[in-house]
């Protein structure tokens, strides 16, 4: 059956969508990538791609979810025909594969939040502390269990009673926490250098194509566009909620949080360290690309008045909120897809909990495995975004506008918008995926780029995609057989 439950208010869906979009990447990836790619100049392409990649895809996702009232597999089957079921399944698989290692990362956030509140990070060698934690299989599994269990319990309470209620608390709290940290950072003596770095625009930096490609990648990963997560939430969207307005609010809200995080982090680093050392620190990749979060930032905060006792617990609390709110959406994506095949919701939650625990365990026990999954399925999301653009293209411009999107009073899309979805997104996809493949061959692993057993090779990406796509294509007749009913 199609779900009958809805978000009880417009705010409910928007806050859940913001919870989905604002994740740990806003806090640890955005400031690092921005600092490494021209500082303030990076913000221009980043903003452009918000309007040419992220928001258009969020609109397509919302439209498909609202129209079909199903998860990713059901939406593609109901709206595009049975032959397209595998595409919806690929999108769902991609996000669930990310969810399997993301719950490990959420566990790290919970551990560091607990440690900072207990004052256990103070006076520690943060590198040793991290090494001990990441090397302890028991601790990793325990915090994976806690993070996963928390999400399962929230999703168990349903859309309005669980997801909506929790995001009503998490998201406003997250903004308040980031705002407090940002105010403290910019009022530190010496923070001005960081603010100047953040907001200095150099026109010549925009001639570097890498800045544009990094900005496009950041925009694609950060807003959750193409993940199928907003599609899932939109299946519960109130009938009269405007799709375009919701997508624009989600995109702008996500980028607002990213900027707030950058203002909270970068000036603080520049206030404590000399310029070049500060620059090296904010652009450091850190364990599993977590940037300065778990090693440098706690060390840094000890040098700031009130840093270790107030800012650090607040920072990790905010990070935990961001991680949990995103994880909830990934969990719900899996549950919705299972329910579309006729499974009862409590059973779907139990099943997904067990699957996530089992498939999250390798990432909990091996940083290399986690990094590999992040690499493979992070790039997979670009394919997912491409599938959404193709889906809209398949139904045609007029039908897409009039029957999928412009169905409620308020903001509407026109022909120019469909041009962006039909042409610009596929072009951006080809350029972005081509660039990453080129990076994989020439820069990241030039000696063994073809080897599927390497962590960051092109071979591992193509091999894993191929296995999943072939399997899903074989299973397509089964995937298309659902009990749900399109609205």
């Amino acid at each position: 059956m199609a779900p009958t439950e809805r978000f009880v208010s417009r705010w409910g869906l928007i806050l859940a969508a913001l919870g989905m979009a604002i994740g740990t990447g806003n806090i640890w990836r955005f400031p690092r990538v921005m600092a490494a790619n021209g500082g303030g100049s990076f913000l221009i392409p980043w903003l452009i791609f918000l309007f040419t990649w992220s928001i258009p895809l969020l609109v397509v996702e919302s439209a498909m979810g609202k129209k079909s009232r199903r998860g990713t597999v059901g939406a593609f089957t109901a709206l595009l025909g049975e032959k397209s079921a595998w595409k919806g399944a690929f999108i769902g698989f991609c996000s669930m594969a990310i969810g399997f290692y993301y719950c490990v990362i959420a566990g790290w956030c919970v551990f560091y939040m607990a440690s900072s509140f207990a004052g256990r990070l103070q006076g520690q060698d943060t590198q040793v502390y991290w090494d001990k934690f990441s090397g302890s299989g028991i601790l990793q599994m325990l915090f994976l269990f806690i993070a996963l269990g928390t999400c399962a319990l929230i999703v168990r309470r349903g859309i309005s009673g669980g997801i909506e209620k929790v995001n009503r608390i998490l998201i406003p709290s997250l903004f308040v926490i980031l705002a407090i940290a940002a105010v403290r950072a910019v009022t530190l003596p010496g923070a001005e250098a960081g603010m100047n770095f953040l907001f200095t625009f150099r026109l010549e930096a925009l001639t570097d194509y890498r800045i544009w490609l990094e900005a496009l990648t950041q925009s694609a990963w950060s807003t959750g566009a193409g993940y199928g997560l907003l599609l899932t939430y939109a299946a519960y969207m109130p009938k009269n909620q405007n799709i375009v307005f919701s997508a624009v609010t989600t995109g702008l809200g996500n980028n607002s949080a990213s900027l707030l995080a950058a203002i909270a982090l970068i000036p603080a680093v520049f206030a404590v360290l000399p310029y070049q050392q500060a620059l090296d620190t904010v652009t450091a990749s850190g364990p599993a690309s977590t940037g300065i979060t778990f090693i440098f930032f706690p060390r840094l905060l000890e040098q700031i008045g009130g840093g270790a006792t107030i800012i650090m617990p607040l920072f990790f609390l905010g990070l935990t909120f961001a991680a949990i709110s995103s994880m909830i959406s990934m969990f719900e994506l899996g549950v919705r897809n299972f329910c579309d095949f006729g499974m009862a919701r409590p059973k779907a939650i139990r099943l997904l909990f067990v699957i996530s625990l089992a498939l999250g365990a390798p990432s909990a026990l091996s940083l290399a495995f986690l990094s590999n999954q992040d690499w493979v399925w992070g790039l997979g999301l670009m394919v997912s975004g491409f599938f959404f653009a193709l889906a809209a293209r398949q139904v045609g411009s007029r039908k897409f506008r009039e029957e999928w999107v412009n169905t409620t009073p308020g903001w509407k899309i026109g022909r120019k918008f469909t041009w962006v979805v039909f042409w610009l997104i596929p072009i951006q996809f080809v350029v972005m995926i081509g660039w990453w493949f080129y990076q994989a061959v020439v820069v990241i692993d030039p000696e063994a780029w073809w080897n599927p057993m390497r962590v960051f090779s092109l071979g591992t990406v193509l091999a894993q995609w191929l296995v999943v796509i072939v399997l899903l294509k074989i299973l397509n007749p089964l995937l298309a057989r659902q009990k749900g009913e399109a609205a």
Binding site: T200, F245, V248, G253, L259
Partner: protein
């Protein structure tokens, strides 16, 4: 901060934060209910 940085900051934050704030205000005006 330099004047140039200040102007750029106001521009960027105006678009992103200002845009988001506009959406929040508009959403509040619409009311929180479904109907």
């Amino acid at each position: 901060m330099t004047t140039g940085s200040l102007i750029f900051m106001v521009l960027i934050l105006g678009i992103v934060w200002g845009g988001f704030a506009y959406c929040v205000v508009r959403l509040n005006k619409q009311g929180d209910g479904d109907s």
